[in-house]
């Protein structure tokens, strides 16, 4: 709780004092205090459920606090509303982006500031240059006229960043801004952040990637269970100490892979698989019990390879062999029949039935495996599967009937994982398995994957989180321009090597 020494005492842009918020008797925030100075990046750290999101919502006016005050430029407010927050220069880039899927990129960028300006008319012709300007300023490649619906996750995120920046925000809150960005894109974002700091903008940065946190922020505020634990200069902290403050646990990101027994056979073999315009001549093998990392820039074709293997966009040529025999994968059901499972990139829309119960989600991929001979659900088997996975994956939820919407990112990802484990696929592919997942959950999810691999499952992790790949992958495939350019093995599986190969 030490207040940091500055050269001269500047008035904070934003102060929150003793914010208390309860939801039906459960305390989400109990007296949280925070200040943000002009030109600084304050990192807000904490595990999912620690109250970060609630705090952001209160600052941005989406929720009202029970007590406490929000002071912007020295003026105290007992609560905010969204319009007031925007008027006061507060902008939030939400984790789910809050974009309009049916509108173009340009419009998404411009609309919010147009709303805040309370003008009545809207001119597409005037709007586009403004959007163009910010996109160019950030050095991005975004098709301004594309519908946001059709963008990749990363492009959506970039659009959301552009939108926040276009309206001259003075207080910018970024909720996990880098989760879907590749390393180079993160670097670019950081340059932008520096530029904003120079302009006197204050940024609150929420991230689970601790090395990034320390790199970008001047101060770090750590919350645990709705309380301030520590606020300190970034230079005095290490990932280890942050993790310790957040979880009370020691963080282990060291390389931990099992020895593959020499007799363990090849479960998947690709021979010159190609899809025009996406990837060419992709060949690799995956052994039983092996965890294979696939990395590369966004658009390198890494996601397309996975989606072809899963039958979403079928490949055009080449041979896929599973357990030595060639298989035809032209649809998702082909892939599933062949024993392939896929945890998709976009968890919320592709992976989960948000309003359905955890139980329904877990069983969603394997109703036939839990059917009696009369094509009825075998309720006993269903129950056993759900209970076993619920317990084994340690999903934190009041019960299995709770809707998935009520879960945090890490717990939601466990549910997606559970859906596939309920089927026991031979090969499980995971695209960004720990994106938006807190540290504790991340370690647990990797642990689960290691355990599954140890039991003979072949696992492919598509990720650009180098530490994560190093932590659990036997080998790492580097994809560039639709081709596999490197297969890193043994000591080559190291953070710096991976980053270097990806960016080459």
């Amino acid at each position: 709780m030490t207040s940091i020494a500055h050269d001269k005492p500047t008035q904070p842009l934003l102060e929150v004092r003793n914010i208390v918020k309860t939801f039906g008797g459960v305390t989400a925030l109990s007296g949280v205090t925070l200040d943000l100075l002009p030109g600084e990046v304050l990192c807000l750290a904490g595990e999912n459920g620690c109250g970060k999101s609630t705090l952001i919502k209160i600052i941005s006016g989406a929720e009202k606090p029970d007590s406490g005050e929000i002071i912007v430029d020295g003026i105290s407010h007992s609560s905010m509303d969204t319009t007031n927050a925007i008027k006061n220069g507060i902008q939030v880039i939400y984790q789910d982006f809050s974009l309009f899927p049916n509108l173009t990129v340009a419009e998404n960028i411009v609309l919010t500031s147009a709303v805040a300006s309370r003008r009545h008319t809207y001119s597409q012709r005037a709007a586009r240059p403004a959007a163009q300007a910010i996109v160019e300023e950030l050095g991005l490649k975004l098709d301004l006229d594309a519908d946001v619906e059709q963008l990749s996750v990363a492009d959506k995120q970039l659009t959301a960043i552009c939108r926040a920046l276009v309206s001259d925000a003075r207080i910018l809150i970024m909720d996990e801004p880098t989760t879907a960005l590749t390393h180079t894109e993160v670097e670019r974002l950081f340059i932008i952040v520096e530029r904003l700091r120079a302009r006197g903008v204050g940024l609150i940065f929420v991230s689970h990637k601790l090395d990034e946190v320390l790199k970008i922020s001047q101060r770090v505020a750590i919350l645990r269970s709705g309380k301030n634990v520590v606020t300190d200069l970034a230079s005095t902290l290490t990932p280890r100490t942050i993790a310790l403050h957040m979880t009370g646990l020691e963080l282990d990101e060291s390389r931990n892979i099992s020895e593959l027994p020499p007799e363990s056979g090849v479960v998947l073999e690709l021979d010159r698989m190609s899809l025009e315009g996406a990837y060419q001549d992709v060949s690799f093998t995956l052994r039983r019990g092996e965890i294979l990392g696939v990395t590369g820039l966004l658009g390198s074709g890494r996601t397309e390879i996975a989606e072809s293997l899963f039958g979403v966009v079928p490949h055009e040529s080449g041979i896929i062999k599973i357990d030595g025999s060639p298989v035809r994968i032209h649809s998702i059901s082909d892939a599933i029949k062949a024993g392939i499972g896929y945890v998709p990139e976009d968890r919320l829309t592709q992976g989960l039935f948000m309003d359905k119960s955890i139980a329904d989600n877990i069983i969603a991929g394997s109703p036939d495996e839990h059917a009696t001979r009369l094509r009825m659900l075998d309720l006993r088997a269903v129950r056993e599967t759900i209970q076993a996975l619920f317990a084994r994956l340690r999903v934190k939820a009041p019960n299995v009937q709770a809707p998935v919407r009520s879960l945090s990112g890490g717990n939601a990802q466990r549910v997606v994982l559970a859906k596939w484990l309920a089927r026991r696929p031979r090969i499980l592919m995971l695209n960004g398995p720990t994106v938006g997942v807190d540290i504790g959950s991340k370690a647990e999810i990797l642990g689960i994957l290691r355990a599954e691999a140890a039991e003979g499952m072949g696992i492919i992790i598509i990720s650009d989180d180098a530490p994560e790949l190093v932590a659990c992958c036997h080998r790492v495939l580097v994809v560039r321009n639709g081709r596999v350019v490197d297969i890193l093995e043994g000591d080559d599986v190291a953070i710096d090597t991976i980053r270097e190969k990806v960016a080459a």
Binding site: T82, N102, Y122, A278
Partner: protein, 351 residues
């Protein structure tokens, strides 16, 4: 696809329009050509004017429904609102109120329509109820209230000011195949279409409707006053319904509380056919207009085309399915093409 140079598909997709309007226009054209071959009389000015005339009221309704559908809702109560507003206005005159004059009569009807629309809007925006549920409910309430409390009599004679408009034509042309008359009330319909197109495209209110239809939560976070905008949408939809009702009554030269109700699904079909997404966020005035015209051509050409009357209902259904089917197939193809485009684009990102 791959054999053709990239520019052609792009150009084609421009032609197709954001909501498949191009394909719809082609379907409409094909239908007109087909009908004209079946019976040359179809391809004459009187027929064209007649179809335009029959499209006036459906178009006005469809515009209101379009706005509601873009905002992510659906409205099945507009016909009830239309009858309520128009019949009540006429009935007041019938009960001894002086002839208000056309403008005042319209204003009264619009006021009624706006109030009923406000009821819809209030229930939807405040209670966050499903729009289908609310408008299904209010549809019954409005019609029931009209017949219970306002009256049920057929009114044969409109106030003079309204009756005068009934037989006014914008122009009348004598052609070989008989007189062709374009009714004056085409004008307000066209004005409303143009007006709504402008509002949707060039005002913050219009863009807010799209935004809300795209993602309500995001709209709220962006500072759009969702409740207020939804209220306004339903008030305007109610007002437009009232205009439609008044025009219907004027063109019919009589008023009865039993008119219009039952036509809701045809109107909604025309709007969806016009490319509006039933899930909200998408739709255009141009597409809706084409959709309405297509449905009206289907409805009003079967006798000319020589379809026996016993088979006309079937023919309407078949043509509808045909039109929608072509739409569905082409839009599916285009979405497949989009996936390809996207991957190509990604490929071009420099490393």
């Amino acid at each position: 696809m791959s054999a053709i140079s990239l520019s052609l598909p792009t150009r084609l997709s421009r032609l197709r329009g954001a909501n498949n309007e191009g394909v719809l226009a082609l379907v409409l054209l094909a239908l007109i050509v087909g009908m004209s071959i079946a019976n040359p009389v179809f391809f004459t000015l009187p027929t064209a004017f007649s179809i335009l005339r029959s499209s006036i009221v459906p178009l006005i309704f469809a515009l209101g429904v379009l706005m509601v559908i873009i905002s992510g809702g659906i409205d099945v109560s507009f016909a009830a609102i239309a009858v309520f507003a128009a019949y009540t206005t006429v009935q007041m005159h019938q009960n001894g109120a002086p002839d208000l004059g056309l403008v005042a009569a319209f204003l009264l009807a619009l006021l009624i329509g706006a109030s009923l629309g406000a009821i819809n809007g209030f229930l939807i925006a405040r209670f966050r109820l499903s729009t289908l549920i609310v408008t299904l409910g209010t549809q019954g309430i409005f019609k029931g209230a009209l017949l219970t409390y306002v009256g049920s009599r057929y009114v044969a004679d409109l106030p003079d000011s309204m009756a005068a408009v009934s037989t006014t034509n914008l122009f009348a042309v004598d052609t070989a195949s008989g007189g062709a008359y374009l009714h004056i009330l085409v004008v307000p319909a066209v004005l409303m279409a143009v007006g709504l197109a402008w509002v949707l495209r060039y005002t913050m209110f219009g863009r807010s409707i799209y935004a809300i239809g795209g993602d309500v939560e995001a709209a709220r976070r962006a500072g759009i006053r969702v409740v207020r905008t939804q209220m306004v949408v339903y008030v305007i939809a109610g007002t437009m319904a009232a205009v439609g009702g008044m025009i219907y009554v004027i063109m019919e030269r009589s008023a009865s509380p039993q008119i219009l109700v039952g036509s809701e699904l045809d109107i909604i079909a025309a709007v969806v056919l016009g490319g509006a997404s039933i899930f909200g966020g998408r739709g255009s005035v141009l597409g809706t207009t084409l959709g309405v015209l297509l449905v009206q051509v289907i409805f009003n050409s079967l006798i000319l085309a020589g379809v026996p009357s016993a088979w006309q209902r079937t023919a309407v259904g078949l043509l509808l399915i045909l039109g929608v089917g072509i739409q569905a197939i082409t839009s599916r193809k285009s979405s497949r093409a989009k996936v390809m485009d996207e991957t190509i684009q990604k490929q071009e990102v420099p490393a």
